[in-house]
Amino acid sequence: MNEQHIAWEASANAIVLGAPRIAYEIESVRFRYHAGSSDGADWILDDVGFQVKAGEVLGIVGPNGSGKTSLLKILANVLSPQQGTLHLFGDDLATLTPQDMARLVAHVPQDTQQSFPFTVAETVVMGRFAQRRHTFWSGCFGWEDEMDIVVAAQAMAAVDIAHLAWRLVPDLSGGERQRTVIARALAQSPMVLLLDEPTAFLDLQHQIDICRIIRQLKEERGLTIVLVSHDLNLVSQYCDRILLLDRGRVVRLGCPEEVIEPEALEAVYRCRVLVDRHPGTGLPRVTLPGRHLSGGT
């Protein structure tokens, strides 16, 4: 057995060996950006409560401004809710240090802008930061060991950017940068992966690649994945369960057939949609009404 397998299994073990069945427990979370303001109407998230099962792919969908990204940042412990509790594998999120958190959870934000000219390899290797031991001088004189390199290289191969190792991140296209950030998240060897619009800048081929990687991370490494997306079809095809948000509240939570159906979608998105079956998978498929139908009947 070589180092690569050790590296991958280290993170997967916790799930396989008698791990808890619930990854996240979210209870009555309320959140708003300007904590000081007195008017109660501006809650971004209002009384949100649900569970994320360990090893599932959960998709969060909803119209613009429904609180999807804020919810994901709360799961990543980047934002803290004003009310309510969150538990991750039984631990209260408020008690975890950033380093503990980064060993468990990787977060891929929507905005991946980067103005400093790091190479792709440097960027991805930085995902190893939380996994490495930190001593007094390691901040300057600590060097990546072989394990870090292997994990980073494998993460880069997984998202098809191994050939870009030497390129500078600001010179990359949007899609390449997106995949670099996903590789950095994979290099964290996390147990939970949080993705905000992971396919937003990607062409069709790379969209499919990312979705396939998401399924493989779930099936082969037992990763728990929560992703936010506007693409209802992608969510329907690749997620085990879907959470539908509207104005900061959970409207529905369930398997694609339960959530991707006209009644719920039309109420939330306030427009007509056609839902039929995907010819390959039999899962729900959403089509926007064409110009002849949009007038409505």
Binding site: Y33, V78, E122, E146, D209
Partner: protein, 382 residues
């Protein structure tokens, strides 16, 4: 089912995630190291060692120049006598030795420490503000520190020798206050837009400078002339006692910053990302603010307001050695020292025997480069 089914089903067959790499880890590591994709210890030693040697050479070369020229042979003879190697004495080195020991050497050493301190503060502010144009002078941190020092001078604290160690602390308090105010002004909803940072810094700088000018105008003329000369940037240090205390500030502050090099790498991705990668951002930010202000305070109390070193040096070094702060911080420090020693040599020879303030030389080299970056290289600024 029909043909589409089989096509869609087969899409999932190949496994990307668990497929072994074509090269093993050691091979990959060797390849990345040799090609410069990541920083390695060997490359670090080469860059820092090379710059240290170059810095030494620049310092020795610049010992020649000043109001009277001391030729290189005499410089070497005096240096070898001090270090106890080579020929014990050569004719005509006595006056030169006195000039070198009491005037040239302290000035070159001060220049090196000031330049290095400014460059390392620049790197820190750039990482902290995610802004490649950040510079303690442009953002008003230097003028905050200068205001602190001017106030101390106005009330007569620190003008006596016994209180001189107090001046860097006044500079530190002033610098820290202006840095925090600038940060608060520029930040909106957890973001630091590059224009807001520059705008807040420029406005703050203008206001602080006005207050300093007010102070100079109410001071008695004899003392205000000295204050003005110091403000425009000068590297005259009266004795080795002050110099060694200043060296302690700069070297100590720089070492504490070096410790956070990898954290600074990650901070450049933005605060939320840094947090999700395992950095305790609030603690690190406070520490970096503190150290940046401490270094600025020390530098400003010794040399006044010297602009643009903190911006152009890190920028040039980044282009040469890459962005990894483990090498960028020490390399910028050495390069900044070299740059300022050279700039000061120009300042004291170009109109010899008269001197011009070194701040004029750095502003005239740095200003155009700042404009160039702002006007033609917007792509690098995001």
């Amino acid at each position: 089912m029909a043909t589409p089914t089989s096509q869609f089903a087969s899409a999932d067959s190949s496994s990307i995630v668990s497929s072994p790499l074509t090269k093993d880890g050691a091979e990959q590591l060797r390849q990345w190291k040799s090609s410069g994709a990541i920083l390695t210890f060997q490359r670090w030693v080469t860059i820092i060692g090379g710059l240290a040697v170059a810095g030494l050479v620049v310092c020795v070369l610049c010992l020649q120049f000043g109001a009277t020229k001391i030729d290189m042979r005499t410089v070497m003879a005096v240096l070898s006598r001090w270090s106890g190697i080579g020929a014990p004495d050569t004719a005509g080195t006595d006056t030169s030795a006195v000039i070198m020991f009491h005037i040239r050497l302290p000035r070159v050493l001060t220049g090196f420490l000031v330049g290095g301190g400014l460059a390392i503060v620049g790197v820190t502010l750039q990482a902290l503000l995610r802004n490649p144009l950040a510079d303690p002078y442009i953002l008003g941190v230097s003028s905050g520190a200068a205001l602190g020092v001017s106030l101390a001078m106005l009330f007569g604290i620190g003008t006596t020798l016994a209180f001189l160690p107090g001046l860097p602390l006044f500079g530190f308090v002033g610098g820290l206050l202006s840095l925090v105010v600038m940060y608060r002004l520029a930040r909106s909803r957890g973001r630091l837009p590059i224009q807001s940072v520059l705008l807040a810094g420029v406005i703050l700088n203008a206001m602080l400078t006005a207050v300093i000018m007010f102070i100079t105008s109410i001071m008695d003329p004899n003392r205000s002339a000295g204050l003005m000369a110091w403000l425009m940037g000068s590297l005259t240090v009266s004795n080795y006692g002050i110099l060694s205390m200043f060296a302690l500030y700069v070297v100590g502050g720089a070492s504490l910053l070096l410790q956070k090099a990898q954290t600074m790498n990650i901070l450049t991705f933005g605060e939320e990302t840094a947090r999700s990668l395992g950095v305790d951002t609030e603690r690190v930010k406070k520490r970096l603010f503190f150290l940046a202000a401490l270094l600025t305070g020390a530098v400003v109390s010794v040399s006044g307001m010297i602009g643009f070193v903190g911006m152009i040096v890190p920028h040039a070094v980044r282009m040469l050695v890459g962005s990894d702060h483990r090498v960028l911080l020490p390399a910028s420090m050495l390069a900044g020292g070299m740059f300022l020693v050279a700039a000061d040599t120009v300042a004291r020879t170009i109109l010899a025997p008269a001197e011009i303030p070194v701040g004029i030389v750095t502003a005239l080299t740095g200003g155009p480069m700042f404009l160039y970056l702002l006007l033609w290289r917007k792509d690098q600024l995001v």
